[in-house]
Amino acid sequence: MSAHPSPDPRPYSYLPFPARLTTVIDESPDTRTFVLGLEPPVAALDGAQPGQFVMLSLLGIGEAPFTMSALPGAGGTPGTVVLTVRRMGVLTTALFALTPGARVGVRGPFGRGFPDADPVPTLYVAGGCGLAPLRAAIVCELAQPRAAPLAIVYGARDPVTRIFKTDLARWRHTPGVRMFERVDHADETWDGRVGSVVDDIAEAVAAIGATRAVVCGPPAMSALAAAELLRAGLDAGAVYVALERYMKCGTGQCGHCYVNQRYVCTDGPVFTLSELCVLPETWTANSGFAALRNPPAGPCHR
């Protein structure tokens, strides 16, 4: 993790790169994918890594951070930023009201993303909209020539709130990919498993011999999944968790996202459990990772 100040001497800018909304895809009743075309393309964004995020800017409304669900570079279209967004607050409500052709702005990419797509058996654990950032990583990994086996554990509230339904269906039949899916509440359309994603983790780890895991979801789910991954024998340094925080700048200045002395925007948003276990502010019940206070397994040195 980099300590402040960053050695990068370039000044920060709050000027967003101009972009235009080109496509809107309905994922679920409250979640949509927004495809943004940068005008002109931006080299820095084309080099974005899975798990990195951008600040989406709507003039007159404000900015908010979103992790890319498909990358402009690896596995995606250069000059294109893809965000999958759940409608929650003022900015997302305004975003949902936009139609293709609308002008928006983008700053980024920011933060430290997921680990490099080394060919090690990797388990992806996602809850709800948390699949959005993982999708970029999964697409990247599947594009690698020497892909290792991977497993995806995904849970949604109910069948209708599942996102990336096409991807989920495709991955189910992709060689080398094991899919585990559950919903909290089934309906007549659902013939899969019901319950928490945590219940699939041990089986998924065993199925591919996972030595690395990447987790993204609501805070409570991430914490439970992390504890289960440690129980399943993964090393705390090989479990990556994406944290979410309120953010205003993306550059480690505004202070909203700090977790102890670390900034989710620049030191994260992806942390390993061995990094989190020395950050007491993540141990609280509300931040989820209470289990880390006395890690059950793995080298979690202070």
Binding site: P5, P11, H256
Partner: protein
């Protein structure tokens, strides 16, 4: 004190320096009005300098990181960055605690172009404090009463009225040269006098052993105390979330960004000082809150100010011992009060 210090034989030379500085820059000094308020105010440099002014309630941070700053402005067709255009200015009479705080913010805002634009125009003239001020404890957190860099010029008044001037930067040295002061070399006797003034000043502070004890306790490497210790639970209800401490703290740097628009095609993106003591500071739009109780927020604030975990980011701990938070805190949980509780209760 470095080798390039010089001796000004009398205080009048300081007024010559001020008048010279005021020719090419706006000169700001802590000024005391008839009611006894001390505020930073622009002066001409022709009025006599107020030595030993009380520390101004507002800090110098707003000269570099103002309470409200427009970042962007937009119209129908374009968005423009509104970097400030700032005339050269001099802050004359900055106390050691505030210099230490500016050093923190220089480091923190290295890459912030708005901060840099303002900071690059500023010349800092520090004046060493010869005695502890009311409520100040800079000595105990290593921020005073004598200053360290990044001052451009530092002045020490000796008991006989002579003044020792030290240039801390090339710009400071150039400003001294331009003033054509009549100076003398610093003899051993003068060095001894400065050292004596320094130790007299240091000795003037009340002994507060609880400060060291509290700092030790707040060192996450020692205790690793999580949120929610019983003492923090007791301090939580004392916080009114008034934002006073964070507004007056010379090292507080948190901000929020707000779009100000009237529904037309014009508008501004503005940043405001924010406060981590506010419940809304970290509340996410989902409703999730990583620091849901006042106790969590109070603990986190003091951790941020007093823990060595922030030394890599700030170059020192976040508290410079100015005591402003103790003045303004409605709940009597400013730095000294908190350290007294934490340091004594152990």
């Amino acid at each position: 004190m470095t080798a390039d210090a010089v001796l000004l034989p009398n205080v009048d030379a300081v007024d010559v320096l001020r008048a010279s500085l005021a020719r090419d820059a706006v000169l700001w000094e802590p000024t005391v009005d008839v009611q006894g308020r001390c505020e930073w105010a622009p002066v001409t440099g022709r009025e006599p300098f107020v030595w030993n002014a009380p520390r101004p309630l507002p800090t110098a941070k707003r000269f570099f990181f103002p309470a409200r700053e427009t970042l962007l402005r937009w119209g129908r067709d374009e968005v423009t960055e509104t970097l400030p255009v700032v005339r050269p200015f001099v802050l004359f009479g900055v106390a050691a605690c505030d210099v230490a705080a500016i050093a923190c913010q220089d480091r923190f805002f290295t890459r912030d172009p708005y901060y840099r634009r303002r900071r690059d125009q500023a010349l800092l003239v520090a004046v060493n404090c010869l005695a502890a001020c009311a409520g100040g404890f800079c000595r105990d957190v290593g921020a005073g009463p004598f200053t360290e860099r990044p001052f451009d010029i530092a002045l020490t008044q000796l008991s006989d009225g002579r003044v020792v001037l030290e240039a801390g930067s090339a710009r400071g040295a150039a400003a001294v040269d331009a003033a054509r002061l009549c100076t003398r070399a610093v003899e051993d006797e003068t060095r001894a006098a400065v050292a004596a003034a320094r130790s007299t000043a240091a000795a003037s502070f009340a002994e507060r052993p609880f400060i060291a004890a509290a700092l030790e306790r707040l060192d996450g490497r020692n205790a690793g105390e999580p949120v929610g210790g019983p003492e923090w639970q007791a301090l939580g209800p004392a916080c009114f979330a008034c934002t006073g401490c964070t507004s007056l703290c010379p090292t507080c740097s948190c901000f929020t960004i707000v779009d100000e628009a009237d529904g037309s095609e014009r508008g501004e993106r503005v940043r405001f000082w924010d406060s981590c003591l506010l419940e809304g500071f970290q509340r996410e739009s989902s409703g999730h809150h990583p620091a849901p109780t006042a106790a969590d927020r109070v603990r986190r604030f003091w951790y941020h100010k007093l823990s060595p975990d922030f030394v890599p980011a700030l170059g020192r701990i976040g508290c410079v011992g100015c005591g402003r938070c103790d003045t303004t805190c409605l709940g009597a949980i400013g730095a000294l009060s908190v350290m007294r509780r934490l340091g004594i209760s152990r």
